[in-house]
Amino acid sequence: MSDPSVVEGDGVSTAPAPNSTTLKKFYHDMLLIRRFEEKAGQLYGMGLIGGFCHLYIGQEAVVVGMQNALLPGDQVITAYRDHGHMLATGMDPKGVMSELTGRAAGYSKGKGGSMHMFSAEKNFFGGHGIVGAQVPLGTGLAFANKYKENGAVTLAYMGEGAANQGQVYESFNMAELWHLPVLYIVENNRYAMGTSVERSSAQPDFYKRGQSFNVPGESVDGMDVEAVFEAGRKALEFVRGGNGPMILEMKTYRYRGHSMSDPAKYRTRDEVQSIRDRKDPIDQFGKKLVDRDLVTEADLKAVDKEIRLIVNEAAEFAIEAPEPDASELYTDVLA
């Protein structure tokens, strides 16, 4: 992609409604993230991935629904729980996994790791380790889109915990004041590390958090990829239409610990299991596809098999790939 911010083309201003092919793609994309994350967890357990590693398992419907509602040229920025976002933008699982293992073939040449990964080609602006910092950055990307009049929209993701940082509200205010084309996505997975929403938030309805700045918001079932896609499509149309920013609160859930070293004593095993059983975004959507006769159980098994292959290949590649050359220590500090 030459200019990463060209959108308009033939007057398309919104993603098309899903057809059976897109629906199957939703399933595929979600399962890819799930299997990739399981593998990343396993490699972490073997000491092949170090430091902090935050898995996205449970939240797959959010990024898959949103990404599929974007148009070419739109941008994405998020925090450290970013593997899913990257895979959804179409970044290569091998490159992502190699960054996790700290190899030269990784997206940041092994210098960034799990929390700090970027792809200029895919308009993915990171991968940020400081909670909340990505929100004004995303607002600035939107500022540039408006400045260049290129019609692109920025998706700025944050956790519900991050939504308590002051810079988030500074961003909301500026974005509304200047009608910036930014869509804020609050991934409300109910916990920020060991702190539940109830213990951290005076206003736990995050979609209402823009009210005092006149930023509209909507609450979305983040475990339902179709609902996410629909809400995303409408919100993007609104934002792209020059109406200023919007907030989508995605009600979702993380199954694993905050990072690999979180003993997760702040919630019960039953709580996690009951959500897995009732709300799992992949199982539920798979059932829907079967019920609607779009696929068979066997088709879904085949998708799984194909994805496991992709993920295993990515893992093997990331294990075998060489570490960055020692000279890389001093490169990329300044231009």
């Binding site: 430091g51 940041s108 610990g257 070293s261």
Partner: protein
């Protein structure tokens, strides 16, 4: 077909653990996400989930077994035949599967006894082996018992018992009024703490790590450090800001930074950066009692290390005093925090070559105890500073300048500095190792100032 389930590493620092409990038995069907076992790591008991589907074959390690090495096979999983073997990818030889901690694991075992003897500690005082983590907790608990105006506030300090378990037990003892979990809102709660300090309370503000205090640095410097001066002495803020500082393990540029020289630069602050558990305890107690804003820089890598701590009812150390932790005559090695681990080891290496190094642990970075350093240089005539932070405008730069100003005529060689490399911290295992100062760097610098 059968594959092996391996003992997982469940924290950045884990090398072995206890297989506390099996939650499956031989013959059970498992799906990805099912919990297989409970495993005790260096910090906590964790659940270990299945990645692959299959049936549990043999359990190879009995529950209750301690010291199971990471990557040791713990069970067999019988998977559907013929499929691409999921675990195969990971049973390939792992170039960096070895301890992720390598650099830090070199921290010293041999501690010169001098390191542990504080002049103020009466002869015959019982010494109790204590982790730095416990020493910090004990210091806070003792001060909270002593003064009802002391309270602890920060992210995950209460119910979670601290992100690094430093505040373990404090919520139970002191209750939610005095041990307070905050939202993720550093600029806000740092300012709130400072305001409470203006009003006479004595807050201990924990930053989950000092990296996140950058969100709050305006309040720390503009509000905490300057108010006594700006108000002509009417108002002040007796507050402690504390948390882990400096490079941790493999957490890369935004989470691995040393703020020592940043804060040491600021008039109106005191800055403490201990290494040993006794110093952590005695100086944190002093910091809590101090009527000024104190920056207390801890280090995640040393939290779990044990050192002797004197068993005294009220062990308080003076702020602003360095300590000679090993006397020597040939060269002075000055350091603080994790750097102390390096100089301790370097001194052993140098001794093998007949070089007798004097080691100074600064402990406090502001006010800096230059007297102790100058005294030493007058004796050894050579000095090397050692720290993990960047070289430009570092603590080492300041010491070098002071030594040149105050002891120029005693120097037989220009002061040398050993620092972290002048780059953001890289993630890759090999690059991270290269970015951090090593024992070899210290030995080489010491020899260089000795022209050997």
């Amino acid at each position: 077909m059968s594959t092996q389930i391996l003992m997982p590493a469940l924290s950045p620092t884990m090398e072995e653990g206890k297989l506390a409990k099996w939650l499956v038995k031989e013959g059970d069907e498992v799906h990805s996400g099912d919990i297989l076992a409970e495993i005790e790591t260096d910090k906590a008991t964790m659940e270990f989930e299945a990645v692959d589907e299959g049936r549990i074959g043999k359990l190879l390690v009995a529950e209750g077994t301690e010291g199971v090495k990471v990557n040791a096979p713990i069970a067999e999983l019988i998977t559907e035949g013929g499929e691409a073997q999921p675990v195969a990818a990971v049973s390939a030889p792992a170039p960096v599967a070895a301890p992720k901690q390598e650099v830090k694991a070199t921290a010293p075992t041999p501690v010169a006894t001098a390191a542990l003897i504080e002049p103020s500690v009466p002869d015959g005082t019982e010494m109790v082996s204590t982790t730095v983590r416990e020493a910090l907790r004990d210091a806070m608990a003792e001060e909270m018992r002593r003064d009802p105006d002391v309270f602890l506030i920060g992210e995950e300090v209460a119910q979670y018992q601290g992100a690094y378990k430093v505040s373990q037990g404090l919520l139970d003892e002191f209750g939610a009024k005095r041990v307070i979990d905050t939202p993720i809102t550093e600029h806000g709660f740092a300012g709130l703490g400072i305001g409470a300090g203006f009003a006479g309370l004595k807050p201990i503000v924990e930053f989950m790590t000092w990296n996140f205090a950058m969100q709050a640095i305006d309040q720390i410097i503009n509000s905490a450090a300057k108010t006594r001066y700006m108000s002509g002495g009417q108002m002040h803020c007796p507050i402690v800001f504390r948390g882990p500082n400096g490079p941790a393990s493999r957490v890369a540029a935004q989470h691995s930074q040393d703020y020592s020289s940043w804060y040491a630069h600021v008039p109106g602050l005191k800055v403490i950066a201990p290494y040993f558990a006794a110093d952590a305890k005695g100086l944190l107690k002093a910091a809590i009692r101090d009527p000024n804003p104190v920056i207390f820089l801890e280090n995640e890598i040393v939290y779990g290390k044990s050192f002797p701590v004197p068993k005294l009812d009220d062990f308080v150390l003076p702020i602003g005093k360095a300590r000679v932790i090993r006397p020597g005559k040939d060269v002075t090695l000055v350091s603080y925090s994790m750097g102390v681990a390096l100089v301790l080891e370097a001194a052993e290496e140098l001794a093998k070559e007949g070089i007798d190094a004097e080691l100074i642990d600064l402990r406090t970075l502001r006010p800096l105890d230059t007297d102790t350093v100058i005294e030493s240089v007058k004796k050894t005539n050579r000095i090397v500073t050692v720290e993990q932070g960047w070289p430009v405008a570092s603590i080492g730069s300041e010491i070098a300048a002071q030594v040149v100003e105050k002891a120029f005529d005693y120097l037989d060689a220009p002061p040398a500095r050993v620092n972290g490399k002048d780059v953001p911290m890289p993630y890759a295992h090999n690059l991270e190792k290269l970015a951090l100062p090593t024992v070899e760097d210290v030995v080489a610098a010491a020899k260089a100032v000795l022209y050997r």
